[in-house]
């Protein structure tokens, strides 16, 4: 049975920024999610022993790794914490096999070879062991970096945005292999990312970071679908935020009406404990809004808004459209939808928003 990682640390980096977190990571994958500069990497550096916190306590199970009061600071080299760096940090002068052998010099030559081969097979790089890092692809390098960290049989694994820059298909394959590995070893894995796609793909649990603090700790579904805070909503991929005033409540139907401030635009939103005449803050995902080029009829969706297309921009596989419907909405479409609907600048359009796609966040 493997032990949990517990940490409660403070680290002041500048006058403006202090990392101040308490967390417990049980065996399994925990996502550490936040914008860049929110303190995620600093947290990993403190946990791994590369940086000493100013105060606090870090332990794996009953073993204390850092304790400010007693002055205990186990050096990084003795923590048995695997660390995969964002830039991977594979040794460029060593082959993949030698990179993997680096962390296990204490094993006998036979045992070392056996462990390297089996770990490399698990991560599908068995055929690349003799290659140098620069002679393999980006995805293979990520696999080699993971295998190098895991061949040492660490007590905890820290991953600092390890899959940045890879296409989604490659990311998913590597994530599957990591999951399979951890099903057998069951150690705490802290996985840092700023991509909400990875949060859903990976996490059993997510810690949301902002300005060096943990804003929320829950399952990805809870945090991402019902964000209690505007920052969380932004991180969770909500693009549209409006301040509105409640105009009527219908408790029997579980809904209420509100008017977006400064406009005549009315929306039906889920009922909340807010008095008529009070302000509310709404968040709507760009991907949750439908777009039509003529007025739709016979819909279950309660909110149909008339507007004008301002512009569209292609971003990867998504087309981002801005629509003026009293206020500006951001809408995500597929390129083929843009073609089928014959959308061009100043086209009249209708926006369709389901009541429950309108989320209330804290003001």
């Amino acid at each position: 049975m493997t032990a949990s990682l517990k940490a409660s640390i403070r680290k002041r980096l500048s006058d403006q920024f202090t990392l101040d977190v308490s967390l417990e990571a049980a065996p399994g994958i925990t996502i550490v999610f936040g914008a860049s500069g929110s303190g995620k990497s600093t947290l990993l550096r403190c946990l791994s022993g590369l940086v000493a916190p100013d105060s606090g306590h870090i332990a794996i199970g009953a073993t204390t790794l850092f304790d400010a009061e007693s002055g205990r600071h186990v050096p990084a080299s003795q923590r048995r914490i695997g660390y995969v760096f964002q830039q991977l940090a594979l040794f460029p002068h060593l082959s993949v096999a030698a990179n993997m052998a680096y962390g296990v010099p204490h094993l006998s030559a036979d045992e070392r070879r056996r462990r390297i081969t089996s770990t490399a097979e698990r991560f599908r790089i068995g055929h690349l062991l003799d290659r140098k890092p620069r002679a393999i692809s980006g995805g293979e390098r990520q696999r080699a970096a993971l295998a190098r960290a895991l061949v040492t049989d660490p007590q905890v694994l820290l991953l600092d945005e390890p899959l940045t820059g890879l296409d989604h298909a490659t990311q998913s394959l590597i994530i599957d292999d990591l999951r399979a590995w951890n099903a057998a070893h069951d150690i705490p894995v802290l996985y840092v990312t700023h991509s909400h796609r990875e949060v859903f793909a990976l996490g059993e649990r997510v810690l949301v970071f902002e300005d060096g603090r943990v804003l929320a700790a829950d399952t990805p579904q809870e945090v991402m679908n019902a964000p209690a805070h505007e920052t969380l909503a932004q991180l969770a991929g909500f693009e549209n935020f409006f301040t509105a005033t409640v105009t009527a409540k219908r408790p029997d139907a579980g809904v209420m009406q509100c008017r977006i401030d400064g406009t005549a635009t009315e929306l039906e939103i889920p009922l909340a404990d807010t008095a008529v005449g009070s302000p509310v803050r709404l968040a709507i995902r760009a991907g949750d809004i439908l777009l039509a080029n003529e007025q739709p009829r016979g819909l279950s969706a309660r909110n149909v808004l008339h507007g004008t297309l301002i512009f569209t921009v292609r971003e990867g596989a998504t087309v981002v459209a801005r629509v003026d419907a009293g206020v500006c909405f951001t809408v995500h479409l597929t390129p083929s939808a843009v073609e089928t609907l014959h959308l061009r600048q100043k086209s009249p359009v209708w926006l369709i928003v389901k009541t429950h796609s309108c989320r209330l966040v804290a003001l």
């Binding site: 791994s48 022993g49 080299s77 830039q87 940090a89 040794f91 962390g103």
Partner: protein, 224 residues
């Protein structure tokens, strides 16, 4: 041709280059990674021989190893003879004189190594020493070779410091540069010319082969 002087110069330069390799690595390591606020003082001391006239350095070394100085007295008590005007004194002075030529390229190479590689090494359980030997040195090998070759070549060509500290004793302290100076003073221009040409060709050959090795033209083709 003064073969004794040439052999002496090569022996001196080889010994000095090897000692500076051993000394230069830890000094360069400290200069690169120390966070001490007074580090600039040590950097200035290491770089001093670059700007100081060799006669000034030579004079201080001579005073420091003279029979009246603690170092000189200790040496005399230990070996039975004085340190000034000996081959050992030349080695000592040359180490000081060529120090920046060894330390600076090595320190520059250390600073070029990606810090995350050193951090990765420690998270993989390696001690600082193992990180130094297995990661830092192999990745800085260009700077280490350059520093060693430069200190060799610089020692080979020195004149002022040798004259001040070693004098001009054939087979003991008379290096090639002193021999050439002697030959010119004695109007033996042909002999001076021959020795000078030999030194020129030798120095060029050493530097050219090092730069050729560091360029590794054959490995460029192997890049993906």
């Amino acid at each position: 041709m003064d073969w004794t002087a040439i052999a002496l110069s090569i022996r001196l330069a080889t010994i000095v280059a090897l000692i500076l390799l051993v000394l230069g690595l830890p000094i360069a390591y400290w200069l690169t990674f120390s966070r001490w606020r007074g580090k600039f003082l040590i950097e200035a001391v290491v770089a001093l021989p670059l700007v100081l006239p060799p006669t000034v350095l030579g004079l201080y070394v001579l005073l420091a190893i003279g029979t009246q100085s603690p170092v000189g007295r200790l040496w005399t008590a230990w070996t039975g003879h004085g340190l000034a005007f000996t081959f050992e004194a030349l080695v000592l002075a040359s180490i000081l004189y060529s120090l920046p030529f060894a330390v600076q390229p090595i320190a520059a190479a250390f600073a070029q190594v990606d810090v995350s590689l050193l951090e990765a090494s420690s998270t993989l359980g390696a001690s600082r020493w193992r990180t130094f030997i297995r990661v830092l040195v192999p990745l800085s090998i260009d700077g280490i070779v350059t520093g060693t070759v430069l200190s060799f070549a610089h020692t080979l060509g020195e004149f002022g410091v040798v004259l001040m500290v070693g004098g001009n004793l054939p087979g003991v302290t008379r290096t090639v540069s002193i021999a050439i100076y002697d030959q010119v003073q004695g109007f033996q221009y042909a002999a001076a010319n021959q020795t000078a040409l030999l030194l020129l060709v030798f120095s060029f050959a050493v530097l050219a082969s090092v730069y050729a090795i560091l360029r590794k033209p054959w490995s460029v083709a192997a890049l993906p």
